[in-house]
């Protein structure tokens, strides 16, 4: 077997939640029987943006904030691949925030994992969009990506976990991966992954979470009810976790990609087809 790059070791601080997230991704790939060479793991910039080095699949370190459009491009170009995009709350909700709503709207077949720790770790402790009480602007509320996801009508899988509940995180990650692999669209999974160095929220978050999976009154298949429930919980300073919403909507691939097999192979059959088509196009301009 040809030797390729040696799988990396995590660079995170001891106690960082990201270990658990990486573990959940690997567990899900394993459980779903997904081959490493058929997987592209893309990660943004930040502490979370190193996870691709540690999995053993094809890995790409994206531009800051651009992991989602890059993942969408890859998923459209070769729909046979398993596409896993990962990033932090700064990468996904701040510099890449504009892409998030469009990514949610497009519903491409991929798994997007956000490791949310409410802080910029790599640049040493600045407020992120999910910081509960921002130091610089305490009157601002934290952004809630699940509410955003619920408000966009083409989302099909929204989930949130917390690394202290690894069994649930593993379950959500596997369900998300299977959702995207089944061609149902984008699985958006946010994992509360506290930063022990700059924003150690373990105690607060553990006390504030409300597990909707264990809540018999919560309906994760009804967008409106789920939105209202999440909104109410947030108003009560609770953090909803679990499978927030699941539904059906056409995926981006189903509307944009005509054919799936060997998309990147520039074979003779394709060349001949292009030539035939272009002959007709050229004829249109001939005078």
């Amino acid at each position: 077997m040809t030797k390729t790059y040696a799988i990396g070791h995590p660079i995170w601080c001891a106690g960082c939640g990201h270990f658990g997230v990486q573990g959940a991704i690997q567990h899900a790939m394993d459980q779903a029987g997904i081959k490493l060479h058929e997987t592209l793991v893309l990660a943004g910039i930040g502490c979370s943006g190193t996870v691709q080095n540690n999995v053993g699949a094809y890995g790409y370190h994206s531009m800051h904030g651009r992991v989602l459009p890059t993942a969408i491009g890859a998923s459209l170009a070769n729909p046979e691949l398993t596409i896993i995009a990962a990033g932090g709350d700064g990468d996904g909700y701040a510099i890449g925030g504009g892409h998030l709503m469009h990514g949610l709207k497009r519903n491409a077949n991929l798994l997007y994992v956000i490791m949310n720790n409410g802080v910029y770790g790599l640049t040493k402790g600045q407020d992120s969009p999910t910081k509960e009480v921002p130091i610089a602007a305490p009157e601002e509320n934290a952004l809630d990506a699940m509410l955003l996801g619920l408000s966009i009508q083409s989302t099909t899988f929204l989930a949130r976990g917390i690394t202290t509940r690894s069994e649930q995180v593993n379950k959500l990650m596997l369900a998300g991966l299977q959702h995207s692999r089944a061609g149902k669209g984008m699985a958006f999974v946010e994992i509360l992954s506290p930063c022990v160095t700059y924003n150690d929220t373990y105690p607060q978050w553990m006390n504030k979470v409300h597990d909707v999976d264990a809540d018999p009154d919560y309906d994760n298949t009804h967008r409106g009810k789920a939105f209202a429930a999440n909104f109410d919980l947030i108003q009560q300073s609770r953090i909803p976790i679990g499978l927030i919403y699941t539904g059906e909507h056409a995926s981006l691939q189903s509307s944009m990609v005509g054919e799936i097999s060997a998309f990147h192979a520039l074979d003779e059959a394709h060349s001949a087809r292009v030539s035939q088509h272009l002959e007709k196009v050229v004829a249109h301009y001939v005078v």
Partner: protein, 602 residues
Amino acid sequence: MSVATYDISAMVSKDLLQGKVRKDITFMVAGQGGDGSLTIIALLSKVLLQRGYSIYRTSNIASRIKGGHAAAFMRATSESRSCLGDRIDILVAFDIEAVQKASAKLADDCVVVFDSSRGTLPPGLVPDTGLFIPVPFSRLAVRDLRRDLFKNSLGFGLLGRIIGLPDEEAEACLRQQFKKLSATQLEPNLRALKEGQAFAENAGIAGSQSILTLPEQAKQGERMFISGNHAVAMGFMAAGGRFFAGYPITPATDVMNFLAQHLPAVGGVVMQAEDELAAINVVIGAALTGVRAMTGSSGPGVALMQESIGHCGSAEIPLVIIDCQRSGPSTGMPTKPEQSDINMLTRGGNGDYPHIVLAPGDPVECFHAGVLATNLASRAQCPVIVALDAVCHDDFTVPKFDLDAVVIDMGKRVTESDLNQMEQYRRYEITDDGISAMSFPGTPNAMNLVTGNERDEWGRVTTEPGNRVRMMDKRTRKLATVKPMLPKAVEWGDATSPIGIIGVGILGAVIAEATERLEQQGHRFHCHRPRTLWPVPQESIDFINSHERVYIIEQSEGAQLAALLRSEGAEPGRIVSILRYDGLQYTAGEIMQEILARETAA
């Protein structure tokens, strides 16, 4: 059809009906956006292309959906040209503003057809030696056809008579132009056409008594009438390009529209992204899977893409970027052409990274640049930018593209059988030619890590100083490797002349026409048009340093091309810059004047 009797205030005098033969004629049709100026020019283009003329077509429109002043221009010549004539020979004006705008450029023997529905023309705007024909187009169209909309077909009917076009040929052309219209929509257009012809008849312009004669020209081989945008997109497809993402922007949207129409038919994908940052990164994602991918934009959009372009240079990702340059900075004048992205395209972005900038000058070269950029991106695994100027949106008559001559170069890629022979696979292996073989997801045993950060041969991020230097040098070597593939400059004129002229892109052909005319007056120049802007072509620097005086004509206030060549060794004392940044294109006559004025002073 009721042929109305008109109050023809200026009957055409018989002595003007000479049927003067023209082989080079410039038309302008102008009015408010929506008046149909572009349609009349489109109809005229069709007619004259059929007669064997070469057509150069351009427009001058406002950046709004409807309204604003819009002018369409067309020059018909026996030889292929890339600019308008010095003077406007025929003007169809739907309002006073159109005549005011054209006035200074009207030829002495011009014909001006003026829509007099909204008032009379102030005196002094049309030369006394010209022919002025006021026609109440709008009033006639509303009175007889119930819609102002039909005035352009009416105008075309009259214009056909002026240029000696047989009525049946005009009708055939109109039918072809409006072939998508239903019979009920076509019918009033045909009536309008006949009404225009009837008006001409009443004015005495009939049959052999046309004002001008445009005889059939000998057609030279099979020709196409096409813009640079369509040509470059076609080149990308011909080279196996299968993925495009972009964000709408004038004047680059045509590239996306063309591909949206044609790529899906061959199994490709076109995606309209939420912004240019997304567009280029969607394309990067596609390129990571091995698909040949491209994005396109104009200056402001390319500025947003700058970080990604540098990233691809570092991460060694093949990518094609079309920049349809327009007037800047920032939003600038969105519908006006310029060549002022050269600084950004050649030296934009942070850090040092390999990339290539091509600058084609006509649609044939745009087609080849589309092919070459796609091949070069794969070969050099770096961003390749195709810098277009007004060539992107104007239409030109050029020889038919040779699709059979297209060669596809996929660059160095590892296959499963290659891997069987390899003990190890390193994505960023240091090689003599600087190029390391790519592998793509889906290939077993060839997993790689791709990153824009500095990394070792395996793709692992590192800041180790020795590695940094080796990697930087490796990436730089790639440009030397692909240098023989880069388009050489085109030179013409008198090689012994001590005076040189340089222009890039569309300006090449305009300079060629100017120097052709200057030569007839006994002035000889040696001309040079670079077709690669980055890496900076040494031949252009040598050209400057081997001439006593070199005029560099360009469309930027900052003399960006001259600055680029100076930065790599062209001697400043030899360079005389001629700059235009008013949003207009040069004509050959204007370039002649610019050069003669300076030569006289020299």
